[in-house]
């Protein structure tokens, strides 16, 4: 996966979670947990991508 698509995927997931919350398909706790997971993946993933890019 290219460096460009990874952040787009995470940001899309965050937006999707928000839309589901807005449509009453997710509760507040689900929203919070979903966003937190995306946050961890965002920073962890981008750090990993950066690390591999440097190693390559």
């Amino acid at each position: 996966m290219s460096k460009f698509w990874f952040p787009v995927l995470i940001l899309s997931a965050m937006l999707l979670i928000t839309v589901l919350f807005y449509a009453d398909m997710l509760g507040q706790k689900d929203l919070n947990n979903g966003l937190f997971a995306c946050t961890v993946v965002w920073f962890g993933g981008l750090a990993a991508v950066d690390y591999w890019k440097k190693k390559a």
Binding site: M14, T18, F21, Y22, N32, L35, W42, L46
Partner: protein, 466 residues
């Protein structure tokens, strides 16, 4: 508000500081779009949004006032700042030195550095409200001016120390981290606004009008904001950057004048979407039993970005407040350090940055800088903007009036009295009127700017005749 993280990605420190940027180094609009969008989504946006609500602003005044004010700011960047930047291709400091002399630039740097320190202090305060949640720290109220508890002091000192050390030692790493965090941060701002709106029962503009309506009476110690207050604030909160020509340092790399339009990304992401989102978060908090009890008791609820965002989007919101505060305080301290170092050129950057961080941390201990941020930002723009008028009026009118351009450089003087007199008189007169008449300071930023430019031409004409 502004910060310099992304700016550094365009402007490498030490490059072309005393010479025009060569054509080969010019950048197109794409570099500036991202820079402006990230630059204006700072930690302080979490405070400015709620402060509008405490000023009793109505929904219409806020939404339309911000729309108009931000557009005027974009026009100022496009038609005032960028044409001079692309024509001169010099930093503000070097251009100012050529007009006013080295000694006067030192005075400007001192004012600039101190104001940056206080701004960084407000950002440390914002971050401390996020760090303090696990420690059950009491949050400062809107009317608090002094440190409120021992835990507050300890948390602020801890946050300030970390930010200062990182600013002194690892600036590049934070700058890089900040660029990585920016898109995520902007989205968290947006999501927080959407979630707060949903929980307030707002699903259309009609609902927003019903919930928010025509505003309220301002909270104690705040003045009532109207459409004109919001417009003037949005236009001039970054007056130091556009009217004050601070952004010459960035826009001198622009390949064409139309690059000035990219400032719209910063205005409508940071100063529109983020402010309204933060406003909605605070509106939600005001509906909580805790806030209603405080208001019923005649008290003033706290404007604490940490708890506000935690309530709306959980830990992600907390991380967002911390990251927004940290990544913006860091370059602000760094930039203030550079301003001070220009005054003491023989001192080590690390030591100056640490000392600057210490001043910012001490400022952060006092919630007044964050809780009075609307006033502080207005003062910040008001003080620094008139200097830009000297550059603007000199650029367009000096030759037409038969005056020598870049007078200090041409005559080899270190101090151009015309600049100092124009700056002090314009600031002094309008500040006095503002205080005596109780008028919001941002209303006088443009008159002071014009007065400074005209006075500079008059004084220069007299001085140069002699």
């Amino acid at each position: 508000m502004e910060e310099v993280t992304a700016q550094e990605s365009i402007q490498t420190s030490g490059e072309f500081e005393r010479q025009p940027v060569p054509t080969s180094q010019l950048k197109d609009w794409r570099k500036f779009l991202g820079m402006y969008a990230g630059e204006h989504a700072a930690g302080t946006e979490f405070v400015i949004g709620p402060l509008f609500l405490t000023a009793g602003v109505s929904a219409f005044d806020l939404i339309v006032g911000l729309l108009v004010g931000n557009f005027l700011a974009v026009l100022t960047w496009r038609y005032i700042t960028t044409p001079i930047a692309t024509s001169e291709r010099l930093t503000l400091y070097y251009k100012l030195e050529k007009i006013s002399g080295r000694k006067l630039v030192t005075g400007y740097n001192l004012a600039n550095g101190l104001l940056f320190c206080f701004l960084a202090g407000a950002m440390i305060t914002v971050s401390a409200t996020a760090v303090g949640i696990p420690f059950d720290m009491p949050m400062p109220a809107l009317t608090d001016r002094m440190p409120t508890s021992i835990s507050w002091v300890l948390v602020v000192l801890g946050v300030g120390a970390v930010i200062s050390i990182v600013a002194a030692k690892g600036y590049d790493a934070v700058s890089k981290f900040s660029n990585i965090a920016a898109p995520w941060m902007v989205l968290v701002f947006l999501i927080a606004g959407i979630v707060a709106a949903k929980r307030l029962g707002v699903s259309s503009l009609d609902d927003l009008w019903a919930v928010w309506g025509s505003g309220s009476e301002p909270f104690p110690g705040q003045i009532k904001f109207t459409f004109w207050h919001v417009t003037a604030f949005a236009w001039f909160c970054n007056a130091a950057m556009h009217l004050g020509m601070s952004d010459l340092s960035v826009l001198r790399y622009a390949d064409r004048n139309s690059v000035g339009w990219t400032s719209a990304a910063g205005m409508y992401v940071g100063h529109y979407m983020a402010w309204i989102s933060a406003c909605l978060m605070f509106a939600l908090y005001l509906k909580s039993p805790e806030a209603e009890a405080i208001l019923a008791g005649g008290g003033v609820p706290p404007v604490a970005p940490g708890p506000l965002s935690y309530e709306v989007v959980g830990i992600s919101g907390l991380v967002c407040v911390l990251v927004a505060g940290w990544t913006t305080a860091n370059p602000t301290i760094y930039r203030a350090g550079l301003a001070f170092q220009a005054i003491f050129p023989k001192s080590f950057t690390t030591k100056v940055t640490l000392a600057t961080g210490a001043i910012a941390t001490i400022a952060g201990l006092f919630p007044a800088f964050a809780m009075k941020l609307l006033d502080f930002v207005a003062v910040y723009g008001f003080i620094l903007a008139p200097i830009g008028a000297v550059i603007f009026f000199e650029h367009y009118f000096a030759e037409r009036l038969g005056m020598v351009r870049n007078y200090a450089a041409a005559k080899g003087i270190g101090f151009n009295m015309a600049v100092l007199a124009a700056w002090l008189i314009s600031m002094g007169v309008f500040y006095t009127i503002s205080v005596q008449q109780g008028v919001f300071l941002s209303f006088f930023t443009l008159p002071a700017w014009i007065a400074c430019g005209v006075l500079y031409l008059v004084f220069s004409k007299i001085l140069q005749k002699k």
